[in-house]
Symmetry: C2
Subunit: 490 residues, 2 copies
C-alpha cells in the first residue's frame, strides 16, 4: 500500500482525495472551490482533449470561442434555463479597483459600477444563440456545428477536486439544425461519440440513456447521458447531450428561411464533457497503490528505472536504454527514462506506481549480461523478465492488453453490481450497498422524488435500448412498461 | 478589390475591421469589448497554439491550469504589479442571483455578497506564485517550467477585434529558478522562441530588444519583447518575456533551500503571446482583396474549384480531383474541394481570396482533356497552368515559396520604413509618416514621456544586439551611447 494513501475499503472519499493529491493531479487553491490542475493532471486532460477534439472534427464540427461574460438579462430569456443556472453563479458588478485615500488599501471603485451585471458563464447557450441570430438566415446556413473548449463557473457549495468545482474546464458543443429529426440525430451521434470515448479510451464501460424530467438539463426537451459505475457503487454522469428543441431559437428569435421559403425556428442541441472525467477515470480503475491509467490516456506509458551501484554500470545501462527508448518512441509509445541519481529504485517504483504509469521496466547489470529486462504491469502488479531483443513489440502488445484488461475488470465490476429488483425492501438494500438497480418506475416526478428522499437514489437514466416489459412501479405499485436505472450518484 | 473591403490606402483602420469581419475571423459580441472568435479565426489560433505548444514542450515546459479568479488582496502584495493591473479589471462581488418578489425580474441577491471580492485574472503571477509557495522547498524542485493556456480579462476602454479586447486568449509561462542567471537565460530563451515563431511561421520579421522603464511589465526587472512593423507604419508588440527577479518570490514568500543549504528567494520569469497575434498577422500581409495567410498557419492551404456546366462534367472533374486531394493530404497539405453547387466559380474565387487561402486550383473540362490545372497564388495573384501529373509535389514547393515570399515582402517593407535619424525635425516627420526610427535617447523616462507627448511615439525597444555609438539625445541633446527604436504603436 502506498505511503499516505488511505485504503479505499476504509474511506473511499479520503482514498480519492489522497490519490488526487499524491499523484500530483490537482490541489485546492486559495480561491474557494477552484482547483489548480497540476502538470501531471493537466497532461491527462490534454490527452482527453486531443482525442475528443479529433472525434468532433471527424464528425464535422468546428471550434470557436464565445465570451466569458453573459449579460444578466440573457438568462431570463429562456424560462427554465434561468431556473437551473442563474442562481448559483459568479456575478461581475464593477470594472475597477482604486486605492482608498484613508486606509491606503485597494478597494472596489463604486463609481465603476456596471449598468447591467455580467454573469461568468455557467454554460453558454444564451450568449451563443445571441450570436447565432446573426449567423443564420437561410437553410443554407445550416447545420451549424460548433464546439468550444472553455472554462465555466458554477458556484457550488460543496466542492471536490475534479468532481465538482466552482470553476472547471470543459467542451460545449452547440449546434443548429433545419429539422427536429436532424437535431435529435445530432444529439444521439454525440452520445455515441462520448460512449466510444469512455469505453475505448478511458476503458470505462457506460450505460446510455435519457434523463428523467427531474434530472434533465435546464432548457432541454431531452437529455441523453452516459453513466458509469464507480468502485464504491455510486453512479457518475460522465457526459450529456441535449436535444433543446426550438427553446433557445425562440428565446433569441433565431429564424431561418426554409427550403419551402417559410420562416421557421431553428432546432438545437448542446453537449458537454468536463474535467470531471478525470475523477471518473480515477474512480474506475485505481487501487490502494495509487492511480491506474488506461495506456491510451497515460501521459507516460512506459517508465524505465536503472538499477546500478556505480557510474560505469549506469553508463552501460543508459546506453542500452537509449536504444529501447528510441525503438519505443518510433512505435508511438511515450517513454520516460528515470535516471535521477537523487532517488533509489524503490522510491522510483512507488512513485510511478502512485502515478499510474502502465508499464515499468527495470534494468540492472545482470539484465545487461543476460540481455533481459524486468517488465512490471501496473494493472495487475505482475512482473516478468523478457528478452530485450524484441522488447518494443512486446510492450506495444502489452499496452493493448492492459487497456483491454482494465476495461474488462471495470465491466465485470459493473455487471457484478447490477441488479434487477422487484421488491421495495430489496431495492432499499441494494441502493444502500451500491450499484445500478434496474427497477420499474411509474414515470412520475413525484415518485422519483419520494424514492430520492427515502434512499438518496435517483433515476440515472432510462435505457435507450431498454426492452418493453410489463411491471409495477417499485414504489407506487402503479403500472410501468419498462425498467429504468436507479443509483446513488456523484 | 473585394466587395465590401475599404481600400487600405483610404482608411487602414476600416480596412482592418472589414477584413476581420468579411473573412469571418471574429465579430463583436453583446458584451462590451468581448469578441466572438468565429470558426475560421479560431482555426488560425489553433494552428498557432499547436506550434507554440510544441516549441514550449520542446524546451522543457509543461502545461497546467490555475484559477480564473484571484482574491483582491493578492494584487496588493507586489507593489508595482497592483499599479499596473488592479485598476481596470472585472470584479466579482456576489455569487447568487434571485427573482425579485415585486418585479419578478432576476436581480443580484444582496445576501450573497463575497467577503473578499474576486478579480477575474488580467494575468496570473499572483495566484500562481501563491501556489508555487507550496511546490518549492528545495533546489531539487527547481527549475519549475510551467505554461498555461487561458482567457484573461482587462477592462479596456477602447477595444478593437484581436488587437485589444476586454477578454482575450493567450498563453502565459511562469517559471521559477535557482539563480538570477538561469532566470535571465530563460527569459531570453523564450524571446528566441517567440521571434522564431513570428519569423518562420507567421512570416513576420521582428526586432528583439528590451523595454524602457515606462513600457516595462508591472512587476518586472526587465521586459524583453519582439516588435513588428505593420503596413501602416505603426509598431505592434507581438510578445513579451519578463525577468521578474525575486519580486514575486518576496511578495509570496517563496524561499528554497539552496545547494549551499541556505534559504533563498526564488528567481522568476513570465512570458506571453495572445490572440493579438492574429491582428499582427492580418496587418503584416493582407491586401485590398482580403486576408493573406502564410501557408504554415493557413487552416486551408489549397482550395480546388471545379468549373462545369453539366452534372457529367462535375462527375468527371470530381473523380480527377479526388486523386489530387488524396496525394496532397498524403503530403500533409490541408485541402478543400469546394463543390458547392449553389455558388458560381467567380463567387468562390473571391471568397477564398478574401479568406487568404494560399493556393487555388481550378479545373474545367478542357483541363481534363489537357491533363492540366490552373494554379493561382494568393500572395502575388499570379496564375499558371500546370500538368496534373506531378501537381502535389509542385504545390508543396509552391507553398514553401509563398511562405518565403511574404516574409521577404514584409522584410523589404520594414527595411524601407526603417530610418536612422539625428535631427528632431526629421524625427517628427518620420514618426508622423510611420516606421521604425533609430535615434539617440538620453535614457530618462522624462524625455521619453515628452517625446510621446509631442509625437505619440514611444521607445519600442532597446535593441539587444545594438551597437555602442556615441551620440546626443534627439530631444534633450544629452549624451547617449546607443540608438533605440521609436515608433507609434498599436
Amino acid at each position: 500500500m502506498a505511503k499516505g494513501i488511505t485504503p479505499k475499503e476504509e474511506n473511499y472519499s479520503q482514498w480519492y482525495n489522497d490519490i488526487v493529491l499524491k499523484a500530483d493531479l490537482a490541489e485546492n487553491s486559495a480561491v474557494r472551490g477552484s482547483m489548480v490542475i497540476k502538470p501531471y493532471g493537466y497532461a491527462i486532460w490534454e490527452k482527453m482533449q486531443s482525442v475528443l477534439d479529433g472525434m468532433f472534427k471527424e464528425t464535422g464540427h468546428e471550434n470557436a470561442y464565445f465570451p466569458l461574460f453573459i449579460p444578466k438579462s440573457f438568462f431570463s430569456k429562456e424560462a427554465s434555463h434561468v431556473e437551473g443556472f442563474a442562481k448559483e453563479c459568479a456575478v461581475v458588478t464593477h470594472y475597477r479597483l482604486k486605492k482608498d485615500e484613508k486606509t491606503g488599501k485597494i478597494v472596489v471603485d463604486e463609481e465603476a459600477k456596471l449598468e447591467e451585471e455580467l454573469i461568468v458563464r455557467p454554460t453558454s447557450e444564451t450568449i451563443i444563440w445571441d450570436a447565432y441570430k446573426n449567423w443564420i438566415q437561410s437553410y443554407r446556413d445550416l447545420p451549424l456545428l460548433i464546439n468550444q473548449w472553455a472554462n465555466v463557473v458554477r458556484w457550488e457549495m460543496r466542492t471536490r477536486l475534479f468532481l465538482r468545482t466552482a470553476e472547471f474546464l470543459w467542451q460545449e458543443g452547440h449546434t443548429a439544425h433545419e429539422t427536429k429529426a436532424e437535431a435529435i440525430k445530432e444529439a444521439e451521434l454525440i452520445l455515441g461519440v462520448y460512449a466510444d470515448f469512455a469505453e475505448k479510451w478511458m476503458s470505462m464501460p457506460v450505460l446510455q440513456g435519457v434523463k428523467s424530467t427531474n434530472e434533465r438539463f435546464a432548457g432541454a426537451i431531452e437529455t441523453y447521458c452516459i453513466e458509469a459505475l464507480m468502485q464504491d457503487g455510486k453512479a457518475l454522469q460522465a457526459g450529456t447531450s441535449h436535444f433543446l428543441g426550438q427553446n433557445f431559437a425562440k428565446a433569441f428569435d433565431v429564424q431561418f428561411l426554409s427550403r419551402e421559403n417559410q420562416l421557421e425556428y431553428v432546432w438545437a442541441t448542446s453537449w458537454g464533457v468536463s474535467t470531471r472525467l478525470i475523477g471518473a477515470l480515477i474512480m474506475s480503475h485505481s487501487d490502494n497503490n495509487g492511480l491506474v491509467l488506461p495506456p491510451k490516456l497515460a501521459p507516460i506509458q512506459v517508465v524505465i528505472v536503472p538499477i546500478y551501484r556505480s557510474e560505469e554500470q549506469l553508463a552501460a545501462i543508459s546506453e542500452k536504454v537509449e536504444g529501447i527508448v528510441k525503438e519505443l518512441k518510433a512505435k508511438g509509445v511515450s517513454v520516460k527514462f528515470d535516471n535521477r541519481d537523487t532517488r533509489k529504485p524503490g522510491f522510483k517504483f512507488s512513485e510511478w506506481e502512485l502515478k499510474g504509469v502502465p508499464v515499468r521496466l527495470a534494468i540492472g547489470p545482470r539484465d545487461l549480461e543476460n540481455g533481459t529486462v524486468e517488465v512490471a504491469r501496473r494493472d495487475t502488479m505482475e512482473k516478468e523478465n523478457l528478452q530485450i531483443a524484441d522488447i518494443s513489440e512486446k510492450i506495444v502488445h502489452l499496452l493493448e492488453k492492459i487497456q483491454d484488461n482494465i476495461y474488462r475488470k471495470a465491466s465485470t465490476f459493473r455487471d457484478d453490481n447490477t441488479f434487477y429488483v422487484d421488491s421495495w425492501e430489496v431495492f432499499k438494500q441494494k441502493i444502500k450497498e451500491g450499484g445500478f438497480v434496474y427497477a420499474h418506475w411509474d414515470g412520475t416526478s413525484e415518485t422519483e422524488l419520494k424514492i430520492k428522499d427515502e434512499t438518496k437514489a435517483t433515476v440515472r437514466l432510462i435505457p435507450i435500448d431498454g426492452k418493453k416489459e410489463e411491471g409495477k412501479c417499485i414504489y407506487s405499485g402503479n403500472p410501468s412498461y419498462r425498467r429504468v436505472v436507479f443509483a446513488k450518484a456523484y
